[in-house]
Amino acid sequence: MIPSLVDVLVIGGGATGAGILRDLSRRGLRCLLVDKSDMGTGTSGRYHGLLHSGGRYVSKDPIAARECIDENRVLRRIAPHCIEDTGGLFVATRDDPADYVEAFPEASAACGVPCEEVPLDELFRREPALDRSIWRAYRVPDASLEPWQLIEANLADARAHGSQAVPYQRVVGMTRNGAQITSVELHDERSGSLSRVAARMVVSAAGAWAGRVAALAGVELAMSPGKGTMLVYNQRMTDTVVNRCHRPGDGDIMVPVHLVAILGTTEIRVDDPDRYGISREEVMALIAEGSKLFPDLPRMRLLRAYAGVRPLYQLEPPADPGDVRGISRAHVVIDHEQRDGVRNLVSIVGGKLTTYRLMAEQTADAVAAKLGVSVRCTTAEDALPGADDRHYYWLGHRLAEHEHQGGGDAELICECEIVTRDGLERFLDEHWPCSLDDVRRGTRLGMGPCQGGFCTFRAVGAMARRGTRDGDAPGRGADDRSPPESGAADDAAEEATLAAFVEERYKGIRPIVWGRQLQELWLTTGIYAGVLGVGAPRSAPQALVSGVNASRVEPTPGGRDGQG
């Protein structure tokens, strides 16, 4: 499965890595992409879902603003199926400085970001949940962008051009011969086996983890991971992306994403991109700020809290080490030959999802130059697979498809996201063997308002059925009754799946444990642990007698990934 020799090894299966793989493959290079986990489970899968217009950066970082609007236009062209064209608003609350607000149109124009004022009566007619004291509003071309579909489309295009992308391969070692990395050692996180791959060039697109990858090559690369916490609401209180019209801060963006809306973000420096928590104070601050946009926010039901880490990198040492808002979002392509004397290692750090393609292009340019390849980049012109009809994603798309296919007669496995039995079985056929997480990301099963409470065990059932299908073809009825052979389904994986589901619900709710969220958590736990007997072994008797476990609880990152 893992080739022993490739032109380029790309480390990191986020949007940037997938974009690099696509770009290099289209230039005729044979590449391999690996990720320590599944694709899009790091920063890309845990972002707020916003395709920037650039409006957020017009005053603070005009270069970033220009990059954003350029790439915004490119992505609308090459990946419209991953975009819901919600449009965006910058609104001025009582707390926002008048000079910033008044200067916003001009600053936008200077960066090429289209911006027009929206009359307030029209604003409140269109978005009635907004605070009535908002005194100015501008429309910009923000949108909602789905990361997993985007990553999948980039990988599909790369595969069509002869490259490979393999998940669950952790880079555990690099062998250097002088200035050259001669081979990279991969650990298969599922089977435990080791393999070795030699590459003419190694590209680290590991984002917040880039420092660790570089260390394996004996190179020091100091990242400043910046944690951003987001809150997922169970409804779209807005159909438009809403930003505060001020210098970027915490809790000032609301993005409608599929059936839910996501409030972001915070920005806190963390030392370890795998170990960070979400504190109650942080959540309260987010809600307090968000309430300035939507005053009913404290009474709305939350689905989960989650956090991602920005892959921030600072060329100059910071004046204040705690200040990560001050660090540029700009991306940097680092050629470690010039910097560290390692000939065939390139890292791409910094940046944001909106500009992933540009980052990939610049990285691929650097790699191509080093390999003497002169083929130019085509990723901005050619549409991604799946974009054939050039239509934007729209919220009613699943329902329309469902009705088109027979409407009420199609069996719904996930009612919230309209995942039908046929759709799920088709996905399993195409991706088998796969995990429940793959199913979630591939179909959005369990990402709606019930958060998987009612469809997770159904999906597990369908997967068990798929696993035993050789002995038990679908559609067999009372006239075809031989029992299937046992053992085909992966019992251990299934066992872990349901417990993991409860654990994930718990992690996502832990920082927001009040009101309906807590009630829902108790109901979910009651059904899964109480009624269905998941993960509730009758353990040692002393467990009961020792009583309350009141030990101080360490906060944990909420949710396995974002957007639902």
Binding site: Y506, V513, L523, V531, P541
Partner: protein, 444 residues
């Protein structure tokens, strides 16, 4: 304005037990509830206590009763009489419970291929309790295309020895499906649709023939067959009897995710008993206001069509449930509020609410949160500020609102609900609670 001797808020096992008991004693009872309670998603058995390391509910009950903070410290002696009383009440609707406090706790299968410990089960599930003989097999049989029961997944789970803690499981577990008559081409059925179909005698007959064929074709030999819990609602006893007569193996029901038919049957039996005894039941609105005069609740108001429904009452039984039921509401600033009267709630500090591990066998500290009472189930201040005196003279707290239980981990919720509901009915029915004649007696 309506008048009642007792208003019961909440229509779960605790509230209905209290209401039926009071109505049977001659009191005018009005039950007001926001919605349906745990009966509609609980698996239908009666969990008194399944505590790690104990063999029977009675042993678990003793263990929990020895903890002064646990509701069983007060209620332990009421469990057995309450259980006996409930059996009598639901028997009126043909509902039979098997097992008692001294029955061994055994692992019984669930609809995701796990087991949970049980000792007292409705007749329809009772065949799951018997130990598995060395050559006995278990057949998991489900209707084709029913999305809440996946026989292959259930069988795969139950083949694992870990699914049967402390005992031997079946020698073999297989999965088969049958086609429910007339369902081909129709979709999105839940357990309730199937149960109503089973209530129809001719459909039932055809379905049982299809099940019998699937079971027979799976091969000979001793064994039992597990079916999803959908064997009828109104006519469940008849369906169960027909299933036993028709199927070649002893059948038992496996409870499903909501809607839970075994729980619904229990709810319906109690509702029937309440109506037979002359009690009233109104579901759909939350209590809006409670009027208090001189330390006593005198009136309860709920919204009704176009106006407020006011009930003057002699006493209030609070059976609103815990966090899951909505009797307790957590606030953003880390407190718990009791939702009807604003009673003080005993709860750990907010940062100690949850344990590190979501499925921690010890449970979460927050599970034990609730309202503290005196020996007559009347609310007291948990800090001792009221000197242990009742905050309301004629309010009695029952069920999972009571502090000190961990119903999920101790599996004591039904026992606490029944015993407290029964005790509240006894206190109010006999007048011991207020030291005066009972309300019912006074009216006579």
């Amino acid at each position: 304005m309506a008048r009642a001797d007792v208003v019961v808020v909440g229509a779960g096992l605790a509230g209905l037990s209290a209401a039926v008991g009071l109505a049977e004693a001659g009191a005018r009872v009005e039950v007001l509830a926001t919605g349906h309670a745990a009966t509609h998603w609980a698996p239908g058995g009666l969990d008194v206590a399944a505590v790690p390391g104990t063999e029977t509910p009675a042993a678990g009950l003793r263990l929990l009763a020895a903890r002064p903070q646990h509701p069983y410290a007060l209620l332990a002696s009421h469990v057995a009489p309450a259980l006996a009383w409930l059996r009598g009440v639901v028997a009126g609707s043909g509902l039979v419970y098997v097992g008692d406090l001294d029955a061994p706790i055994r692992p019984v299968p669930t609809s995701v291929g796990r087991t949970r410990p049980a000792a007292i089960l409705p007749e329809g599930q009772a065949a799951a309790l018997a130990p598995w003989a060395p050559d006995e097999r278990l057949l998991i049989c489900g209707p084709l295309g029913f999305k809440d029961f996946w026989p292959e997944a259930v069988a795969a789970g139950l083949r694992r020895p870990e699914a049967w803690p402390g005992t031997a499981g079946p020698a073999r577990v297989d999965a088969v499906t049958f086609e429910p008559p007339g369902f081909r081409g129709t979709r999105n059925h839940n357990a309730l649709d199937l149960a109503r179909a089973f209530d129809d005698a001719s459909w039932r007959e055809a379905a049982l023939v299809a099940i019998a064929r699937a079971v027979s074709a799976a091969g000979p030999g001793p064994g039992r067959v597990a079916l999803p819990a959908c064997l009828g609602l109104a006519d469940h006893p008849a369906v169960l009897e027909a299933a036993r007569a028709t199927l070649p193996l002893e059948p038992f029901e496996v409870p499903l995710v909501p809607p839970s038919l075994p729980g619904l049957r229990l709810y319906r039996a109690l509702r029937e008993a309440l109506r037979r005894a002359g009690g009233r039941l109104q579901i759909g609105e939350a209590v809006q206001r409670v009027d208090v005069e001189a330390g006593r609740v005198v009136r309860v108001a709920v919204p009704a069509a176009a106006r407020q429904h006011l009930v003057a009452t002699g006493a209030l039984v609070l059976a609103t449930g815990g966090i899951a039921g909505g009797g307790l509401l957590a606030t953003m600033d880390g407190r718990l509020e009791e939702t009807v009267l604003g009673l003080p709630v005993e709860a750990p500090d907010a940062d100690a609410w949850l344990a590190q591990d979501p499925l921690d066998p010890q449970g979460h500290p927050l599970e034990a949160a609730g309202v503290r009472t005196d020996g007559q189930l009347r609310p007291v201040d948990p800090t001792g500020a009221s000197g242990g005196a009742a905050l309301y003279e004629n309010v009695h707290v029952v069920g999972s609102l009571l502090a000190g239980q961990r119903y999920l981990r101790e599996r004591c919720g039904d026992g606490v609900a029944l015993a407290s509901g029964h005790l509240a009915a006894e206190l109010l029915g006999s007048g011991r609670a207020t030291g005066r004649q009972s309300l019912a007696e006074a009216r006579r």
